[in-house]
């Protein structure tokens, strides 16, 4: 589209002008707020993304050659830059000393809770699944107590990670139709980890297309139609496929003795 700098084809828009459009800037802001729960981080990400799009005479935008719509391509660029920012920031951002002293598991917990707005429970689930923490929930509660005194940049007050006001609580999940989430949420923490292990194992054995279908619908809460498009299926085909895959998960979970309470 803009293969050469300064190419002004009829009907095409100069990237410098495109990036001043309010709807484009709003989209960048919306995306950054979604990626980064910490407001300050979201603001920094916004600048990073905008700079990334402008870099080298709007190189990313000039690389666009069709295939998908320009809008979708722009979405892809914005999300890609947000991901780059996350990786660069989380690597170098200074953490409170008390968190660093506790080790990699504590750093992950702090990032999840303070920067991503996750619950303590979700943080435990992640560090256990990733093998960063080996203890029980009781161990985790005890050992993460010092993290609770670490200041969180989002709020100038020193905010407790188990703030009863619910600042760090998960927002209510409106997608109650997500059967995997519903199951995992119902189980106690130890059985949840067992179930998660089974689900991971089954998922790893699926074809790439099936893996992505499951992840997009049950992991990312996207619509079946949208996920179906990615893997080359119509909505009804994707729905049918997911039903069969859920049956496989159910069978494997029952075989491992995982039952809903």
């Amino acid at each position: 589209m803009w293969k050469k700098a300064g190419n002004r084809r009829t009907g095409d828009e100069d990237p410098a002008v495109l990036l001043t459009r309010p709807e484009v800037l709003e989209q960048i802001e919306r995306t950054c707020r979604r990626w980064f729960w910490d407001e300050n981080l979201a603001d920094e990400a916004y600048i990073f993304v905008l700079d990334g799009l402008k870099k080298d005479d709007f190189r990313k935008l000039r690389l666009y050659q069709g295939g998908a719509s320009l809008r979708t391509y722009l979405y892809s660029c914005i999300n890609s830059l947000a991901s780059d920012f996350e990786r660069s920031r989380f690597g170098r951002k200074r953490l409170p000393k008390i968190v660093i002293d506790l080790g990699p598991w504590a750093e992950r917990v702090f990032r999840l809770i303070c920067w991503k707005g996750r619950s303590l429970e979700a943080a435990f689930h992640e560090v256990r699944l990733e093998g960063l923490f080996a203890g029980t929930w009781a161990d985790f509660e005890k050992e993460s107590a010092p993290i609770q005194n670490a200041p969180c940049r989002q709020d100038p007050r020193q905010v407790s990670l188990t703030d009863p006001q619910g600042e760090f609580r998960d927002p209510p999940d409106p997608r109650e139709e997500n059967p995997l989430e519903r199951l995992l949420a119902k189980l106690d923490l130890e059985r949840r980890l067992k179930a998660a292990g089974v689900i991971r194992e089954i998922t790893a054995g699926l074809s790439a297309g099936d893996q992505e279908l499951v992840r997009l619908v049950f992991g990312s809460d996207l619509t079946v139609a949208a996920a179906g498009k990615v893997v080359g299926m119509e909505g009804y085909q994707a729905r049918r496929r997911l039903k069969k895959l859920l049956a496989r998960f159910r069978e494997a979970l029952l075989a491992e003795g995982v039952r809903e309470p």
């Binding site: 009829t10 295939g67 979405y75 619950s119 998960d170 995992l184 998660a196 992505e212 992840r215 990312s220």
Partner: protein, 203 residues
């Protein structure tokens, strides 16, 4: 979003296959604009790469949100159960008609629908004539259509339903190019994604 399921299902990144996908490839995947063989290759990487999976998922989320926002704004929104029934019947008739034409009528006639892209726009905007006779312009269109999977043979003339003006809003409805090719003549119409309304739909 279901955090527990998201954490559980995330690719672990242990054995990432291939290089990260380009933004263009991720955009094409998100829109479903990838052929089967290539799609399998791209998904083989995405299914192992946390980074590309997340970018893909968020891009699809943005697409879905934009679509939902447009529907909410009422463009092409079907407002009554009777209008919905009418539109379904119309869709069946039209869809069946197109299929019928493709299966049973003369092989010289074919129809297709493409998403507008910059190259197609450029050839449409070359001048304002509704009927093209310039052989170079027609040949250029034929090449573009063939590159996008539309079988074109012996195209001699092109007729536009109406003059084309590109959509002003960058994040507005997607433009589609409706194509009918019959006896060496291509009939083109550019529509916006939710433009079609069933007849008799109330305001």
């Amino acid at each position: 979003m279901g955090q527990l399921a998201e954490i559980t299902l995330r690719p672990d990144g242990g054995k990432v296959q291939g290089e990260h996908l380009s933004e263009a490839d991720l955009a094409r995947l998100a829109e479903g604009q990838v052929e089967t063989g290539e799609r399998e290759e791209l998904l083989a990487h995405v299914s192992t790469c946390p980074r590309c999976h997340q970018v893909l998922a968020e891009t699809v989320r943005d697409l879905d949100a934009a679509r939902a926002a447009r529907q909410k704004a009422g463009r092409g929104l079907v407002r009554t159960p009777y209008a919905l029934a009418a539109s379904l019947i119309l869709a069946l008739v039209i869809g069946g008609g197109v299929l019928f034409q493709q299966l049973f009528l003369s092989p010289e006639m074919m129809t297709a629908m493409l998403t507008m892209d910059p190259e197609l726009k450029q050839v449409l905007l070359q001048d304002e004539s509704l009927t093209w006779t310039d052989s170079q312009r027609i040949a250029r269109l034929a090449v573009l259509l063939q590159q996008r999977g539309v079988k074109v043979k012996g195209l001699e003339k092109v007729v536009l339903a109406r003059p084309y003006t590109p959509s002003k809003s960058f994040l507005g409805p997607e433009e589609k190019l409706k194509i009918r090719i019959e006896k060496g003549v291509a009939y083109l119409e550019v529509i916006e994604e939710e433009e079609k309304k069933p007849p008799g739909e109330g305001g």
